[in-house]
Symmetry: C2
Subunit: 388 residues, 2 copies
C-alpha cells in the first residue's frame, strides 16, 4: 500500500426533506450575500428552486443561471464579475457536476489576481490560494463533485477541457436528496450510473498493490451499481435504488478509493477530448473509450481484470477468459443502459480524431499515461481508432 493523506471536510446532508439545513448551515457561516448558481433552469420546473429559495429568506440572494452541461470558461467569468461587483461572500451551487465544478472555479477565480485561465493551464506559480466558501444542493447523482475538491472546466473556443483542484475547493456542505432522481430524464440517470462506475474502475482496474480493503470498497460500489441499475431504470421513483445510486456516486469520487492506490484516469483524459471535439456527454465518452483501453492494456491490467470478473461479474473458469469476459460484461452493461459505445454511433466526422488526440497528448508532454505510465501516444491513437 502506498503512503497517502486522506482529508475531506465536506458535510454531507443526505436524505429526504433536508433543505431546511441550508439555512442552518449557512447561518453558521456568518454570510451576508449569496450567489445562487444553477444550470439550464430545470430546477425551476421540478420545484427544487422554490424549495431552496424558501430556506434562503434570511439572506440577500443574487442569481446566476445558465451554467452549461460542460461548464464554459466564458460563462463562469461572467459570474466571477458579479461576485466581485456585488461583494458576494458565499456561493450556493444548485445542480449536478457541471454547476458544482463551475462554482469551484468561480470561488477561486473571484479571489485571484491575474488571468484565471493560467491556473487551469497550470502555469508555474499560478494557483488559487484562496477561495470563497460554497455549499451544494445536488440535483443529479453522477460526478461525485459534491464531495471532492476537483473540477473540469470547458473552453469551447479553444476546444479544450482543463482540470482544477485544491484544498480550498471542498464544499462546506452538500445537501443530497435522492428524491431528485425521480424527475430526471433517463439520459441523465444512465449517464450518472456510468460516470460513477467509471470513476470507480479508474481507481480499481490497475494492478495489485496490497490495497485489499480499497479494492473491496471499489467492488462494493460496482456490485451495488450493477444491482440497482435495472431497478432504477424500471422505476426512477424507487427511493431505495435512487439513494444507493446517489451514495455510490459520492463514494466513487470522495477520495476514499484512491487512498494508497495506483490510479489510471487515462480513459477520462481521452474522453475529455471526445467531449471537446464532438460535445458527446462525458459519461458516454467513458463508455466508448474504457473497453478499448482495457483491451489495449490487457496484460498490464490482467490481475485486476480477473479479480473484477470474478467478484463483480461472478465469472469462473480460465483466468484469461475471465479477463476478456469482464471487458465484454462491462461494455454490455453500458449498452443495456441504452448507451452506445462507438464514436461512429455519435458522429460520422471521425477520420481525423485518432491522430488529433494523439498529437494533443504529445503537445502536452503526456507520453506515458495510466497507472504504469505505459500508455503511449501511439496507444492512445490505437485506442481511439478501435473505438470508432
Amino acid at each position: 500500500m502506498n503512503n497517502f493523506e486522506a482529508y475531506n471536510p465536506t458535510r454531507i446532508v443526505f436524505g429526504k426533506d433536508q433543505y431546511h439545513r441550508i439555512n442552518e448551515l449557512m447561518t453558521e457561516q456568518s454570510i451576508k450575500k449569496v450567489l445562487l448558481v444553477y444550470g439550464g433552469g430545470s430546477i425551476k420546473k421540478n420545484g427544487i428552486y422554490d424549495q431552496v429559495m424558501a430556506h434562503l429568506a434570511n439572506f440577500s440572494v443574487v442569481e446566476f443561471g445558465g451554467v452549461e452541461a460542460n461548464p464554459e470558461y466564458s460563462t463562469l467569468m461572467k459570474a466571477v464579475e458579479i461576485v466581485k461587483k456585488e461583494s458576494i461572500d458565499f456561493i450556493l451551487a444548485v445542480g449536478g457536476g457541471s454547476v458544482i465544478d463551475g462554482v469551484k472555479f468561480i470561488v477561486g477565480a473571484a479571489l485571484y489576481d491575474g488571468e484565471p485561465w493560467d491556473v487551469l493551464e497550470r502555469k508555474p506559480g499560478c494557483k488559487f490560494t484562496n477561495a470563497l466558501p460554497f455549499g451544494v444542493v445536488l440535483t443529479l447523482p453522477a460526478t461525485g463533485s459534491e464531495a471532492n475538491s476537483s473540477a473540469v472546466i470547458n473552453r469551447s473556443e479553444l476546444k479544450m477541457k482543463r482540470t482544477l483542484g485544491g484544498p480550498n475547493l471542498f464544499p462546506i456542505f452538500s445537501i443530497c436528496n435522492p428524491q431528485v432522481v425521480a424527475s430526471l430524464p433517463k439520459r441523465q440517470i444512465v449517464n450518472g450510473i456510468v460516470d460513477s462506475f467509471m470513476h470507480t474502475l479508474e481507481q480499481y482496474l490497475t494492478y495489485p498493490s496490497g490495497n485489499l480493503l480499497q479494492q473491496r470498497q471499489a467492488e462494493s460500489i460496482l456490485q451495488t451499481l450493477v444491482e440497482i441499475a435495472p431497478k432504477i431504470l424500471e422505476n426512477p421513483s424507487d427511493y431505495e435504488a435512487a439513494a444507493n445510486l446517489m451514495w455510490c456516486s459520492t463514494h466513487a469520487l470522495n477520495g476514499n478509493l484512491r487512498a494508497g492506490v495506483p490510479t489510471d484516469w487515462c480513459t477520462h483524459m481521452i474522453g475529455h477530448e471526445l467531449t471537446a471535439f464532438y460535445g458527446i456527454d462525458h459519461a458516454r465518452t467513458l463508455a466508448i473509450i474504457a473497453p478499448r483501453l482495457f483491451e489495449n492494456q490487457f496484460d498490464n491490467k490482467f490481475n485486476l481484470l480477473v479479480q473484477y470478473g470474478k467478484r463483480v461479474w461472478n465469472l469462473s473458469g480460465d483466468d484469461k477468459m475471465i479477463a476478456n469476459q469482464a471487458i465484454t460484461k462491462t461494455e454490455s452493461f453500458f449498452q443495456q443502459l441504452g448507451i452506445q459505445t462507438k464514436i461512429s454511433d455519435y458522429t460520422t466526422n471521425t477520420a481525423f480524431i485518432a491522430d488529433e488526440i494523439k498529437n494533443r497528448f504529445i503537445d502536452r508532454g503526456w507520453t506515458g499515461m495510466g497507472e504504469r505510465k505505459a500508455i503511449t501516444p501511439d496507444d492512445v491513437k490505437e485506442i481511439v481508432l478501435n473505438a470508432i
Copy 2:
C-alpha cells in the same frame, strides 16, 4: 435508507516515515505550547517517542505519561490541571485508543466551567461546547478513535465506564504508521483485530434497510480482516497485512458504516460492564458477549446473519443453518486468534454478574437496547448468563 449527516474533518496521514508531517501540520495551527500525552511508556522503548520528539523541536512541550489501558477519570483530571496551569494550546496524543480517548476528554474538560463528570453523566445542559485542538500519533490499530469524535472514559472507584462525543472532538490530524504493528505484543494485535471486527458487526448485523452500499462496505472490512488475520499473526512485520489492519480499524469506526444505517451497540454496552467489573480487555469482552447476543437476537438479526454467512464466510445451504454457522464461525475466528470467549475463562467470580448488569441497565433506564430496541434487561441477563 435512513436520512443521515456524514462529517469527518480529520486529516489521516497514512504510511511509512510520515512523522515529519507532525511539525508541518502543527505549524499550520499556530501552536505555542504542546502537551504530549501517552500511556505506559512503551513509546520510549519502541523508538516512537524519539521520532516524535525530533519533530517537536520548534514547540514548547510538556509531557504527561501514564494514561491507563482504560483511561481513568482521575488520571485525566490531573492532565486537565496541567493544561490550565501551563496554558497549553494543543495536545498531541501518542498512543492507541485509550490515550486518544483520554485526550478527547482532556481537550473538552480543560475549557469546561464545572464538573466534567456531569458531561459524562449526560446531565441536562452539561456538554463540552469548546475544546482545544489536538492531533494523534497512532501506535496501535484497534479502536478507530484516530478518526472519530467519540471516547470511552473509565472511573474505577465507581466501577463505571462512560461515553463521550461531539463535533469538537475530531483530531485535527492523525499520523497512522502501520510499521508500529511489528513491535506490538500479540495480545494487542489480536485485540485490535477483534475490536475492528466487532465495530463493523455492530453496524452491520442488524436488519436490512436498503443500505446496499454500506452493507457491502462493512463486508469489505470483515472479509479483509478474515484474510489478513492469519498473515499478521504469522508475521507482524508483514507491512501489507499491517497496513490493511490499520486501514480496516480506521474505517470500522470513522462514521462511514453507520451512515443511514440502523446500528446495535448492545454488545459494547454489556462489554463495558465486564471491563468495569473485571478489567477484561475491551476487545475480549466483545468476543465474549457477541455470539451470545446474536443467539439471543437470532430472529431479529436473521436476514443479516444469513447475508453475513454467505458473503463473509462463504456458507451455502439452508438459510437457518447458515445463520447458525455464521455465529459459530465468528466465535471460532476469535478463538483462533487466541481469544477466549467465556467469562469463566477470565474469572471465577461470576455468580453476581448477570443480575448486576441487568440491574445497572434498569437503573439507567435502558429498557430497550439494540437496533430494534428489542433487547430487554431480561435479555441482557440471559446473554450474560449464557456467556459465563
